[in-house]
Amino acid sequence: MNPILEIMNLTVRYKIKNKEIHAVEDISLLVNKEEFVGIVGESGSGKSTMAHAIVRLLPPNAYIKNGRVNLLGYDLINMSDEEVMKVRWKDFSIVFQKSMSALSPVHRIDDQMMEAIKLHNPQISQQEIESRLDKLLQMVNLPKRVLKSYPHELSGGMMQRVMIALALVNFPKFVIFDEATTALDVVTQGQIIEEVRQLVKELSLTGMVITHDIGVVNELCDKIAVMYAGKLVEYGPKSDIIHNPYHPYTKALISSLPDFIKERGEFAGIPGNLPDLSQLPKGCIFAPRCPLADEKCFEQVPSLLRNDDRQVACFKVKEVKT
């Protein structure tokens, strides 16, 4: 099967006052057609940086140290900005987090969406645009009047739906959902996830879901990639990872979810904080917080081990399993 997205040894760093922040370290990932990959990890683990590196939207103080990204046949890292501008939003797009500040408060919704259509289809007629907008709104379950509204007249859930519609405006093949449901209440979140699932089926989308909520990943994705401090620590099919994690970080992440069935108890957090990403430790990056770490973990960096369709970077896989 031909992969839609192929990331190879992607390394992204931020330059801040003579310091190098290792935001994304040496990540390789394959996404096949009509597959959804969930990227999970705590805040600051480099999930969004990776996504923005893929679509070439990194802030000016970040740079791609090395690596290759092949998305739908485009060699994105080596393309010029102009070339990327032509294909971004046409063949692939991204749903940003914080939809509240992502829409221009002085323009109506339809103006903003039309702009995205016109820029990539200069020949399109006004009627075609309108019928396309109607169709898009139906897809995300919004009433037609939203088109003539300003962003401040919409609720958070509506704005998030507008953002999703905006990402799908040119019917791309690949979409990244960057914390698309994070700022919403659980009920709206559930509805939007359900809608996205429908859309994925309807438009045979391939994509990536970035979140720190394993529940969202569980609903939407086929595969899970767990990131910690810029590194890929585990990657594999969803159910395998959730029911049978190989990496101690994945295990801790899953057990930190509140459980509604059990009696009211303690939240199982993960003690400690993310390491300082400007000075990477010598050994495994998770070792200082890992309950299973021993001398070897502090000395050597574990490489990504392959086991059928699963990958994990840990010396202690056997001990985690039991």
Binding site: V55, L57, M85, K86, R88, W89, S93, I94, F96, K98, S99, M100, S101, A102, L103, S104, P105, V106, H107, E115, A116, L119, H120, Y150, P151, H152, E153, L166
Partner: protein
Amino acid sequence: MRKFGDFVRRYFTNPYGVVGFAIFVTLLCFAIFAFYISPYKPNALSEDVLSPPSYKHPFGTDHLGRDIFSRVVYGTRVSLSVGFVAAGISALLGIFIGAFSGYYGGIVDEIVSKIIDSFLMIPIFFLILIIVAIFGSNLFYIMLVIGLTTWPSNARIMRAQTLSLKERGLVKIAKSIGESNIRILFSHIIPNGMYPVVANSALQMGGAILTEAALSFLGLGDPNVTSWGKMINEARTYMSFAWWTIVFPGIFTILAVVAFSFIGDGLQHTLYPKLSGVESE
């Protein structure tokens, strides 16, 4: 349109805004309908020299027997047009220069910021005084010079707005959709960031009126137009025994300046915190 309705409603909840707007509308009527309102021609001489306010001459007459009420009414035209044109030039220059400098950054921004800083350091009134003294005192020159010397404060506001807007999600979205830099600048940055400049411009209108009056008072005003400043200048000699010659043009100057600063205040209250803070909903 709902947004405009909201805007009007919010503006008129501010008492300063209401008062300022009322004075402004009155002055605007004076300026537009000067021909119908004034009982005499502004330069018509008469026998009643320096006569005090009476039924015939509500504000009295000056040393040449000209009706002060008529002259004040015609003077409104000069003052308002100076205010609008000068502040308009200043706002346009300030918005474009500030937005370009803030958006593109780098060396351009460095240079523009230094220019703005040096303009803010120079005492503007004396600069205007020198320019007008050298190049002559046509009313149009005066407006132009006031506009060309007051844009830096607008540019500074616009630059700050641009710096904060360009980090916001909406610019990121526009960029990722594929909009060009110029388009982002004109359709996102400027429309979203110009509100504080609009409020500042209302204040600048008052300032421009005052500057023109001061120039006229110093004898550097346009000799061909009737302006409040010139009336005050001419009345200096007679003010000890004919107070009406200097008090009425003075009151109107103050009213105009107060009206514009109240309007600026009202606009600031209306536009600044609410429209830029859509997140608050």
